[in-house]
């Protein structure tokens, strides 16, 4: 057997095809991306184990991820927060984990996106299952998984084809195959969903510039939000009583050990905001939450500087606006003495 020749042929062709594959996706405008997966989240969650009362944690859904920029927050307060917010998620499972499984007694900023915060406590439902999966992964991760993550980072940072995006922007073999559609035996009503954020190692997330500059791109994302809002109309109603009770119980435990909680309602605009106003009116949900929680709370509608912020895809701020929002929000909170500026103290 001339296996040496076989090996040489295999190596040469593999190198050539891989270079071609990488170049092709670069030529199509794709760039290197980090995967916002359980492993990346767990690295931040790990930091909570050694966090002091000076530290700050961010929780909530994608709005906290997009709208709170870590650099600006650090500039204003002297503290770089630990970003634990996750997309499409209720903050309750992660808040519950921090309250019950750590000794952390610093400040937690909880983002309350009404449709997610008040959605459910059903462990099978997506707003609960997604963040809970991250919590479970953190507690059960093996050393091998931690090493895999460590080794994958340089590859993710260097190679475009390592991108773990799903849907229309997915370029892994499975995603490419899933894009093929034949006939209409089963209809998939979900509009194509573009990735519109870029995450960094400490999970600081920035909106992609194309979301701001390309209206069609932004509109494709808006269609997805509208699809979800339509789906919510036919789904179970918000479970305000159960979610509030669950949150308040943990909140009281956290406050009792000296922890500080801030509630935040991030901006939304257009049809998304209209849908939220109709489905989850402020007075019935947010105001009641604030009243019962008895913690400092910040609703974007209450501040002149935030009232006119427009979200390019109606639910999240552009990077530029997110920087402004973060800076101003931190100033307001410092002025209110809800947080302290560690730089000056």
């Amino acid at each position: 057997m001339k296996l040496k020749l076989t090996l040489i042929v295999a190596i040469i062709i593999t190198i050539i095809t891989s270079i071609f594959w990488e170049s092709y996706w670069r030529s199509q405008g794709f760039t290197q991306t980090l995967d916002d997966n359980e492993a990346l989240w767990s690295v931040q969650r790990e930091r909570v184990e050694n966090a002091t009362s000076d530290n700050m944690l961010l929780m909530g859904s994608s709005r906290v991820l997009f709208d709170i920029q870590l650099n600006e927050w650090e500039t204003q307060t002297g503290i770089r927060p630990i970003q634990l917010a996750t997309v499409g998620s209720s903050p309750l499972p992660i808040f519950h984990d921090i309250v019950n499984n750590t000794k952390f007694n610093g400040t937690i900023l909880v983002g309350a996106t009404p449709g997610l915060f008040f959605s459910t406590t059903n462990p099978e439902a997506q707003p609960w299952a997604w963040p809970q999966a991250k919590v479970d992964y953190f507690h059960n991760r093996t050393y091998a998984q931690q090493l895999n993550h460590l080794l994958s980072i340089p590859l993710q940072k260097s190679l475009v084809f390592m991108s773990d995006h799903q849907g229309v922007d997915g370029i892994k073999l499975k995603e490419l195959i899933n894009k093929i559609h034949v006939g209409n035996r089963v209809l998939d009503p979900m509009p194509p969903f573009h990735e519109f954020g870029e995450i960094e190692m400490d999970r600081n997330l920035k909106m992609k510039p194309i979301t701001v500059t390309d209206t069609a791109y932004a509109n494709s994302v808006i269609k997805v939000w509208q699809f979800f809002m339509e789906g919510a109309k036919n789904g179970p109603p918000p479970d305000k009583d159960a979610t509030m009770a669950f949150f308040l119980k943990d909140l009281n435990t956290f406050k009792a050990r000296g922890g500080n909680v801030l509630l935040l309602r991030c901006p939304s605009s257009g049809s998304v905001r209209m849908g939220e106003k109709m489905g989850l009116p402020r007075t019935d949900f947010w105001d009641d939450l604030v009243k019962q929680a008895k913690v400092p709370a910040y609703h974007f509608e209450d501040y002149d500087q935030f009232k006119n912020l427009t979200c390019p895809e109606e639910s999240h701020l552009s990077h530029k606006d997110a920087r402004f929002f973060t800076t101003e929000l931190a100033k307001i909170m410092i002025k209110d003495k809800a947080i302290t500026n560690k730089k000056t103290n």
Binding site: N148, L173, K174, I177, V186
Partner: protein, 471 residues
């Protein structure tokens, strides 16, 4: 540690570098392999390495005593001690919750109100594999079929050898321990062929099982709806392909990695989906387990030495326990029972309705066997009897209003993959990859290798665990 992970790539490179460096003599190389094997296992859950150590020490001691002990009673005690420890581990870690759950059901059914909290015991990865492997050593020692391992190091490495530690092949002592006595070094051809097998194994796992089939079988078996017949069949054959590619992929990786170290492991699969009947199937599917069950269960139960009725009973019991070996659930027992029934029916057919297998009826017979095997997979994959029964009803159109959940392309994709799998097994059933590669031009083989590697690179996968790790 998973073969389809970056940490394993790093691990293997370090092990190979140390193995082929001139730093160590053979004994130290074996020590390095043993330590690496513990690291390989401990990267998943370090404390559970202790179970490996206990199994190793107990069976080494039992084996040593069995080698010198002449008193039959004492020999039996040593054998029982080994079996007690190994089967005790299995009973506690694998069947603890299952036994408790059934005990509670029995108590309640006879009117005793008894409730128990599930113990939520963590299942040590690969426990069914290494306990069976190490038990075979003491049983063979008891039967005086083999000589004791020369050193503790050789024995410990036999129990723990990382390529086959967590999902087999389950290797007999006479086939593996003796290979550790003399220094082993792969020839260049062996090393490259091992690397080729590793690539094929990863291709089967990452591309075929995880990328092309897993989602379909997960969607179908995860559905709580009554499905359309086509969806139920496609989900079932998708799982059929997934479990083959997943498990055969692992075995191929294991054989390849061992070969890169100059160690030869036996085949675990020989194109099973082209089996002509069920006794043929069990000579081709998970060969190391089926031969273990035959040698250590079926034959001691009497085999075919005590008449037909006893043979059928032994056959059924072996298959039922074989089913239970895969998991602590009644569905696995049904899976084993179905295979037992198939084997009995086949023997009855051979006795009362014999016919000659020709090249014309062969593929038809293989297809019938494959279809029957698919029905058993429903019980293997379904988590509950309700799901399994719904699937069977859908597959045989006992209900007609089933829901369609698979799109047309998925149906085409799975059908093509499984048809190709079946035909490939049929074409290859009387040959081997090695023989085919000898007839193939090195350049063509290199191109095939490159295509597989490229597809692994672009598929990447998300480090899905191998299905058989849970058994």
């Amino acid at each position: 540690m998973l073969f389809n992970s970056l940490s394993f790539v790093l691990f293997l490179i370090i092990v190979l570098a140390l193995y082929y460096s001139k730093l160590f003599n053979w004994t130290n190389k074996k020590r390095m392999l043993l330590l690496s094997s513990y690291v390989f296992y401990g990267m998943w859950n370090p404390p559970l390495v202790i179970l490996l150590w206990i199994s190793t020490v107990v069976d080494w001691t039992a084996g040593k005593r069995l080698a010198v002990e002449e008193n039959q009673k004492k020999r039996k005690i040593w054998l029982l001690l080994s079996m007690l420890v190994n089967l005790g581990f299995l009973a506690f870690f694998k069947y603890g919750d299952f036994l408790l759950e059934n005990f509670v059901t029995i108590m309640n059914s006879i009117g005793i109100d008894f409730q128990a909290q599930p113990m939520d015991i963590i299942l040590p990865m690969g426990i069914s594999f290494y306990t069976f492997q190490t038990m075979s050593y003491t049983i063979d020692m008891y039967k005086r079929k083999i000589k004791p391992a020369r050193t503790f190091l050789d024995f410990a490495l036999y129990v723990t050898f990382f390529p086959q530690l967590v999902a087999g092949p389950i290797v007999r002592a006479k086939d593996l321990i003796t290979q550790f006595y003399e220094e082993k070094k792969a020839t260049t051809n062996q090393f490259i062929w091992g690397l080729f097998l590793l690539t094929i194994g990863l291709f089967q796992k990452v591309v075929m099982a995880d990328t092309l089939l897993a989602d379909t079988s997960d969607a179908v078996f995860g559905s709580d709806k009554l499905l359309h017949g086509i969806d139920a069949w496609i989900g079932t054959i998708a799982f059929s392909g997934q479990i083959f590619f997943d498990f055969a992929g692992y075995s191929t990786c294991a054989i390849g990695i061992a070969l890169m170290l100059g160690i030869i492991l036996p085949d675990n699969f020989r194109y099973p989906y082209a089996s002509l009947g069920f006794s043929d199937l069990w000579k081709r599917w998970h060969i190391s387990l089926s031969s273990w069950l035959k040698d250590y269960l079926y034959i001691p139960l009497g085999g075919n030495r005590h008449g037909i009725t006893r043979m059928y009973a032994a056959l059924m019991l072996t298959m039922l326990l074989g089913g239970l070996w895969h998991g602590a659930a009644w569905t696995f027992l049904v899976w084993g029972g179905l295979h037992g029934t198939y084997l009995i029916l086949e023997r009855l057919q051979k006795r009362y309705l014999p016919f000659k297998i020709t090249k014309w009826n062969g593929i038809f017979l293989a297809f019938i066997t494959f279809s029957c095997v698919n029905i058993t997979w429903v019980f293997f994959r379904a988590r509950t009897f309700d799901t399994a029964w719904n699937m069977i009803k859908s597959m045989f159109y006992m209900q007609i209003e089933g829901e369609k959940i698979l799109d047309t392309f998925t149906i085409i994709k799975v059908s093509v993959v499984i048809a190709m799998l079946f035909l490939c097994h049929w074409i290859m059933r009387n040959t081997s990859m090695k023989e085919v590669s000898l007839r193939t031009s090195p350049i063509v083989l290199g191109v095939v290798w490159a295509i597989m590697t490229f597809l692994i690179i672009i598929a990447q996968g998300s480090g899905e665990q191998f299905i058989y790790f849970q058994f």
